[in-house]
């Protein structure tokens, strides 16, 4: 039974958590201080463990931590194998193999110094933090709510994904059912063939059901409110936006003398895209049943994240700033209820 805390009115909007996460991502990208990265990671983990949702993504933060370690390990291994030489205290030496010329003549192995390891760890920490932030955001939201909060322009895609999550248990149970039936058919068939015998009826069954689903959706009015006329405007905006992005990216990557123009083009193009998406959404004229509203607690989250990002951005690096960042990250503990 749902508790009071889970009524839509008291829940935190999933986008609030994701915007918080995105702001923290900005912070992680902008900062050069490993300490700040550490605080961000720790804060994200703490908030995730405390406030995680009861959906299927509960354990994302656990997987993320595990994954972050793995990635750091990979980074270390690669650095030890291929690393550039950083002089310092030698910890151990790997056998050195010189690769042939056609592979750039790179030397494998060699000395491994503690400075090198620390440098690599510091650089890898950014990726680890990023992974942890994403894992935290996943843990804090439920996928169904996220689907519901998608921008309206992506509504059809949202419906497709919702349908797939609804059908998934049916397909799994039909696999079990059909596997049982085929087993009883008593065949000498080997494994490969029995895979055919199970998957073919499953997929045929599923495809037939999809036609029934289409009939049901159509009869209930799905697709009615899409207006074709306005669609031209939004479609054109989207195309122009994409063209702008292509131009901006090209100018950024390729050598040229334009310094600020690419950024300007990119920002404009992104704005045009967002405008096009918003307009597409409005064309759909849909409503949402019992939407999760933005309450004060939810609005505070992106603001908190943005503050941390701002601090990282201005490279404010003293001890006080670190303490301040910790406080910002722990703020949710103070005002959010147990079940977000």
């Amino acid at each position: 039974m749902p508790t009071l805390a889970m009524r839509p009115e008291t829940r935190i909007h999933p986008l609030a958590w994701w915007m918080w996460a995105i702001a923290l991502t900005f912070a992680a990208s902008a900062t050069t201080s490993t300490w700040l990265l550490g605080i961000i990671s720790a804060g994200a983990i703490a908030v995730a463990l405390r406030f995680r949702s009861d959906g299927p993504w509960r354990h994302s933060i656990n997987y993320a931590i595990y994954l972050a370690f793995t990635l750091l390990l990979i980074r270390l291994t690669l650095a030890m194998l291929f690393g550039a030489k950083i002089p310092g205290h030698v910890l151990f030496t790997l056998p050195s193999v010189r690769l042939p010329e056609w592979l750039s003549g790179i030397a494998l192995g060699g000395e491994v110094t503690s400075e090198k390891l620390l440098t690599i760890l510091r650089e890898g920490f950014k990726l680890a933090t990023l992974v942890i932030i994403f894992g935290a955001a996943s843990s804090l939201t439920r996928p169904k709510e996220l689907l519901k909060s998608l921008p309206r322009a992506l509504h059809e895609a949202g419906v497709i994904v919702v349908v797939s999550t609804t059908f998934l248990p049916q397909i799994i149970s039909s696999i079990k059912r059909i596997r049982t039936a085929q087993r009883l058919r008593g065949s000498r068939a080997n494994r490969g063939l029995s895979l055919t015998r199970v998957l073919i009826p499953v997929i045929e069954d599923a495809l037939t059901k999809s036609l029934d689903l289409a009939a049901a959706m159509e009869s209930r009015g799905y697709g009615r409110t899409h207006h074709r006329a306005r669609h031209r405007l939004s479609a054109s905006l989207l195309i122009f936006g994409l063209l702008g992005l292509v131009a901006g990216i090209y100018l950024l990557l390729v050598p040229n003398s334009l310094v600020n123009v690419p950024w300007l083009i990119l920002t404009l193009a992104a704005a045009v895209c967002v405008l096009g998406l918003w307009l597409s959404g409005r064309n759909l004229r849909l409503t949402v049943y019992r939407p999760i509203n933005w309450n004060l607690e939810a609005i505070a989250l992106p603001l908190l994240g943005a503050s941390v990002a701002a601090m990282a951005g201005i490279h404010f690096q003293s001890l006080t700033s670190l303490a301040f960042a910790s406080a910002l990250l722990c703020a949710p503990f103070l005002y959010l209820g147990r079940q977000a």
Partner: protein, 257 residues
């Protein structure tokens, strides 16, 4: 050209850029060390635009239902399949569905399959937009293969599966390259020559992802060889039964006299 086709093209172009920029980036570029951060922000927007443009233009209720069911099937395969060491049955419905239903359907099938299975398997990581895009490229490629029938078609698709698996691996490693290879001798060199970067990448790829790609290629090709024909036929049957062509919104009723 329809707006959905144009979006598909543009998204594809941006996508290729998003994967291959380390090979081409100049040393004077303001993002020479941070291209991956830039694309982290741009890609979700680009994917949203692509998905929105195609679904608004070309998506009939039958396509919605069919995509939902195929994606559920793909997700079921992903949860039941091993998932490690490249054993990824998810490519079976993606490649075959793309083949039968065309490019725009394929784009949505690839993107949303990866998204939906991420929803089920436990969360989202910063590489998800790249995965979605790479899957979309694989799917659109499958939809662009030349017409063929019968046994030839199955063999063609299996061969494509091998190529596509390897390419998918390369794309995902390209994406990881700036994150994991920095500071090593096999990092990408902004402004470096293409051959030098390619050599660095090859070493990176060989040490990280290649071990996944080869089993994936073999496994997917194997699945297509044994299951391809009956699944294709089942898909074609439903295509015919629904008189199904990705029809325009508000189109005229079918065959009324």
């Amino acid at each position: 050209m329809r707006s959905s086709q144009a979006s598909l093209l543009l998204v594809g172009a941006i996508g290729l850029g998003a994967f291959s920029w380390p090979l081409f980036i100049s040393s004077t570029s303001p993002v020479q060390n941070g291209g991956h951060w830039l694309f982290l922000i741009i890609l979700p927007l680009v994917l949203a635009v692509g998905i929105s443009a195609i679904s608004q233009d070309r998506l009939d209720v039958r396509a919605v239902a069919l995509l939902g069911v195929l994606i559920a099937f793909a997700t079921a395969l992903r949860t039941l399949g091993a998932g490690q060491a490249g054993i990824e049955p998810i490519w079976l419905p993606i490649i075959l569905g793309a083949r039968v239903f065309g490019r725009e359907f394929a784009f949505l099938l690839g993107t949303l399959s990866l998204f939906a299975s991420a929803l089920i398997t436990g969360g989202v990581g910063p590489w998800l937009p790249y995965q979605m895009l790479a899957a979309a490229l694989v799917a659109v490629g499958a939809a662009s293969l030349p017409r063929a029938q019968g046994r030839i078609e199955t063999v063609l698709l299996a061969a494509y599966a091998v190529v596509a698996s390897l390419v998918y691996g390369i794309l995902m490693d390209l994406q990881f390259w700036p994150w994991l290879g920095g500071g090593t001798s096999i990092a990408y060199v902004a402004g470096g020559s293409l051959s030098e970067n390619l050599r660095h990448f090859f070493l990176f790829h060989a040490t990280t992802g290649l071990a996944w790609d080869i089993p994936r290629a073999i496994f997917t090709a194997f699945l297509i060889l044994i299951l391809g024909k009956p699944i294709l036929r089942a898909l074609q049957r439903v295509n015919r039964r629904a008189s199904f062509v990705l029809s325009e919104r508000d189109s005229q009723p079918v065959e009324i006299s």
